[in-house]
Amino acid sequence: MTPTNTPTLKDAVRYGLLSGLIEINLSAIGFILLLHQRELVAGAFTMGHLFLFTAPIGFAYLLAKKTAAHSRSRVLGYGAIIGALTALPLIILVFLATAFDIRQFLLNISPDLITLLTFGQSVVTGSLILLAINVVLGMLSAALYLLPPQWRKMAVSGLAWVAISGTFSEILLGRLRSFFGRGLTDLIFTGKSLNPGFAVFILVAGALYSYFSQRRHARKEAEGDRSDATVLSLPIETINKIILGVVLLLLPVLLGSYLTEVTNNVGLYVLMGLGLNIVVGFAGLLDLGYVAFFAIGAYVMGILTSEGALGLGMGFTFWTALPFSVLAATLAGILLGMPVLRMRGDYLAIVTLGFGEIIRILALSDMLKPFIGGAQGVLQIPKPSFFGIDLIQPGQLYYIILACVLLAWFISARLRDSRLGRQWMAMREDEDVAEAMGINLVSTKLLAFATGAAFSGLAGAIFASKLTSIFPHSFNLLVSINVLSLIIVGGIGSLPGVVVGSLILVGLPELLREFAEHRLLMYGALLIFMMLARPEGFWPSEVTKRELHAFEEQHQPGTSSD
C-alpha cells in the first residue's frame, strides 16, 4: 500500500457508499437489531450501535490514513462525507419502511429496527440525528488519525477496553459476584451491563494503561533490551509455562460450571482441530469430510457402552471402549483415505465432502436403523467414571478433555519436528518432487489421514459420553466447515492457532448467543477476509511466518511501509 496518488472526492464518495451499503445490509439481515439486545453500556450504547457505526468509522479512518500524507486539511471533510453517505441509504430505508410495508418481503426490517435507527424519535428528527451522528463519527474517526500517535493509541485502547468489558459484562458480572459478592458488582453494573459511570472509568483506565505501557516501552528501548532477565534463576519461558499449567489445572474453579461447559466444547473442537491441522496444515490435504471420523468415534462409543436397546451390553465402560473408538476412526481414516490418494487438492476436497455426507446419510437411513438407531440415534450412553466416581460435572470432564488435548498437542508437535513432519511439508510443497526424493506418498498421506482421524475419533468418543446420546444431525457438514474455519482463522499449521481459532469460532458464539444466530454468515465472511487480508491466521506457525517474511523481503527490498 504505497499511496502514490492523492485520494480525491470520488474516493470519499466511493468509500461512503460502500460503508452505507454494508450498514444497510447488516440492518436488512437482522444483524444490527439482534446485537442491539446486548448492552455495552447500560441505557446508552449497545453492540448493535457498535456495528451500526463500525463501517463509517473504519472507512473514514482508512481514507484519513491515505489522505493525511498529502493534505491534512481534507481529512475531516472526507470523514464527514463518508459519514453522511453512510447515513443516507439508512435514512431512505427508514422513510420507505414508514411509507410501505417492506416487511412482507424483508422480514428483518421491523418497527424495532426503525426505532433503533431513529433513536426512538419521529422519522424526520430521528433521521437528522442519525445523519448528525454519522457525520460526527466520521469526522472524529478521521481526526483520530491526525492525533499524535501516542494520543491515538490511548484513545483506541480506552475505547477497546470499554467495548471488550461491555461485551463480556454478563460473564464478568457472574464471576465477580461469585468471588466478591453483590457489593462490588452493584457498583459496576446496572442490570447485566456496565453502568455509564464505570464505563467512563474503564475508558480512562484503558487510556492511562496505554500511556504507561508506552512510557515503559520507551524507557526499555532507551536502556537497551534486557529481556534475558531471570527470576529465581529460572528462565522466563519456564515460569510462563508453570503459570500456564497452574491456570489450566485450576480453570474449572476459576470459571464456574457454565463457562467450564463452554471450555469443554472448545476443547473438543481443539482436539478435532489438532487432527485436521495435521491433515490440512502439515500434509496439505484439504479434507472436508472430517466429521465422518468424529461420527464414527462417537457411534462406536455409543454402541459399545449404551445401556439402552442398541447397546451391545458386553460390559464396556468409557475407558475400555475408548481404544476401540479411536481404532475404528483410524481405520476409517485409512479406508477413506485410500481411494483419494491419487487425487489432486481440489478434487480431494469435494470427494471427502462426499464421504462425510455418505456417512451421515447412512447413519440416518433405515438400512442401518436396527444397528445405530437412524434418526432416533443412540441413547443412554453412560458418562465416564474414574475409580468409581462418575464424572458428571463439566469440571470433572474438563480434565479428561484437557489430557486428551495435551496428548494430541504433544504428538502433533513431535511429529511436526520429526522426519515425518518434513516429509509432510515436502509433500505439501511439491508432491512429484517429494516422491522423487524417495518418499512413499501412499504411506505418508495415509499416516496423515490416520492420525487426523484418530484425534477426531477421540473427540467423538468423548462427545458421545459427554452428551449421553447422539443423533445423526450432530454430524453434519457444518462441523467439518467449522473445524476447517478454525484452523484457518488461527493459522494453518499452527498448534496455538488451533486453540485461538477454537476460542474465537466456538467459544465466542457460545458466550454471545446473539452471534450464534449469524455464526455461519460470519464464518463465511471470515474465511474470505482471512484469505484476502491475513492468510497466515491470527497465530501463524513458525513456517508460515517465515514464508511471509521471505515474501516481504523479496517484494519490498529495504523499504518499510507504515
Binding site: P339, M343, L362, Y523, G524
Partner: protein, 353 residues
C-alpha cells in the same frame, strides 16, 4: 509367481477390490430386482422421465462449474448459491405478490417471464460480485486459497439470504398451464418435467451457439486456452472471466426457476446439495466441456432416480430412496478414481502430461 505378486501395488489392489465390490453389488442388486419385479412398467417410465428432468437441472447448473473450471481451473464452490439466490429473491419479491394479486393467473406466461428475468439478473449480480471480491484478488494464489474463499462465499450467501428472507420454506405458486400430467403415447408425464426438459435443451443449444459464435464467447474460449496470450491479443481477461461467471450464473438462475416449477418450494439451503451434485455431473461428463456437463447431468439424474430402485431394492434394503445421494457421491468417487477425465473430457489428461 510370488515375485509377480510382490510387484502388485497395494494401492492398485485395494482400488481393484473397491471397484469389483461395487460392481458386484450393482449387478447383483439389478438382477435381484429384475427377478423380483417390484414395480410396474409405468412406474419405471415415470422414474426415468423424472430422472431426465432432474438431470436437465443438474446439467444447467453444471455448466457454471464447467465454464469457470475451464477458465480459472478452480472449483467454484459457491455456484449452488448463485442458483439459490436468484429464484429466492424472485419468489419473495415477484412470484409471491403476483400470485396473491391474481396477476399470475391472468398472465401466466408473462409472469413467468418476469420471474425468469429477475432471477437471472440477481443470480448474475451475485456471481459477478463474488468473483470481484472473493476470487479476483486471489487469482494467482495457491490453488487451495480460492477454494477456501469459495467455501466461505457459499456459507456467506446462504446465511445472507437466510437473514434477508428468513429460514422457513417458502411456497412457489403453481402456474396453471404447467399443472397436472400429460399423456405421451403410453406414458403419463408431469407437465413440469416436460417443461424442464425442453427448456434445458433450448438453453444448452443457445449457450453452445453463444460460446461458439459471439464475440464474448470467443473471448471466453481464448482466455480458457491461455490467459497470457489472450491478454496479448487484446482481450480484456478480467472482463472475459466476469462474463464467464455471469453466463454460468444465468444458467443456474434458469435452473432455479425450473426447480421452483417442479418442486414449488424455495429455501435458503436449496442450492447446496444440488450444487455439489452438479459438480459431480460436470466431473462425470468431463470438466471443462459443455456437452460433457449436459451428458454428465443427464447420467447423474438418471442414476439417482433409477438407481435406488434398480440397484438397491433387490438387495432387500429398506427405503432405498434415502440412499440416492450415496449413489451420486459414490459415482463421483468412482469417476475421479478410474476416469478423472470424465466421459467427454480430455483436458485433465492433457494437463497432467
Amino acid at each position: 509367481m510370488l515375485q509377480r505378486l510382490k510387484e502388485i501395488d497395494m494401492l492398485d489392489l485395494f482400488l481393484w477390490v473397491f471397484r469389483t465390490v461395487i460392481l458386484v453389488v450393482v449387478v447383483w442388486g439389478t438382477i435381484a430386482t429384475i427377478i423380483e419385479n417390484p414395480y410396474p412398467t409405468q412406474t419405471w417410465m415415470e422414474t426415468i422421465v423424472a430422472g431426465i428432468a432432474q438431470g436437465s437441472l443438474y446439467a444447467l447448473i453444471a455448466i457454471g462449474y464447467t465454464l469457470v473450471y475451464g477458465v480459472l481451473f478452480m472449483i467454484n464452490f459457491a455456484h449452488g448459491e448463485f442458483f439459490m439466490s436468484g429464484i429466492m429473491t424472485a419468489t419473495i419479491f415477484l412470484a409471491g405478490p403476483m400470485s396473491a394479486s391474481g396477476y399470475l393467473d391472468r398472465h401466466p406466461y408473462l409472469g413467468l417471464l418476469w420471474i425468469t428475468l429477475v432471477t437471472m439478473v440477481v443470480s448474475t449480480a451475485i456471481a459477478v460480485l463474488t468473483e470481484r471480491v472473493a476470487y479476483r484478488p486471489l487469482r494467482y494464489a495457491p490453488r487451495l486459497v480460492p477454494l477456501i474463499t469459495a467455501i466461505g462465499a457459499s456459507f456467506f450467501w446462504q446465511n445472507y439470504f437466510r437473514g434477508l428472507f428468513g429460514s422457513e420454506v417458502k411456497p412457489f405458486p403453481q402456474i396453471a398451464p404447467f399443472a397436472g400430467k400429460i399423456t405421451l403415447g403410453s406414458i403419463v408425464v408431469l407437465k413440469t418435467h416436460l417443461v424442464v426438459i425442453i427448456a434445458a435443451i433450448l438453453m444448452l443449444i443457445g449457450l453452445y451457439f453463444f460460446v461458439m459464435k459471439t464475440k464474448t464467447g470467443k473471448a471466453i474460449r481464448a482466455v480458457a486456452e491461455n490467459k497470457d496470450v489472450a491478454a496479448l491479443m487484446g482481450i480484456d481477461v478480467d472482463r472475459a472471466i466476469s462474463s464467464t461467471f455471469a453466463l454460468g450464473a444465468s444458467m443456474a438462475g434458469i435452473a432455479g426457476v425450473l426447480y421452483a416449477l417442479v418442486f414449488r418450494q424455495i429455501h435458503f439451503f436449496m442450492g447446496f446439495i444440488p450444487g455439489i451434485k452438479a459438480f459431480t455431473a460436470a466431473v462425470l461428463g468431463g470438466i471443462g466441456s459443455i456437452p460433457g456437463a449436459a451428458l454428465g447431468g443427464l447420467f447423474l439424474g438418471m442414476f439417482e432416480s433409477v438407481g435406488p430402485g434398480l440397484f438397491l431394492e433387490g438387495l432387500g434394503i429398506p427405503a432405498p430412496h434415502q440412499l440416492k445421494d450415496v449413489i451420486a457421491f459414490t459415482m463421483l468417487v468412482l469417476v475421479l478414481i478410474f476416469r478423472p477425465q470424465g466421459i467427454l473430457g480430455e483436458r485433465l489428461a492433457e494437463e497432467k502430461a
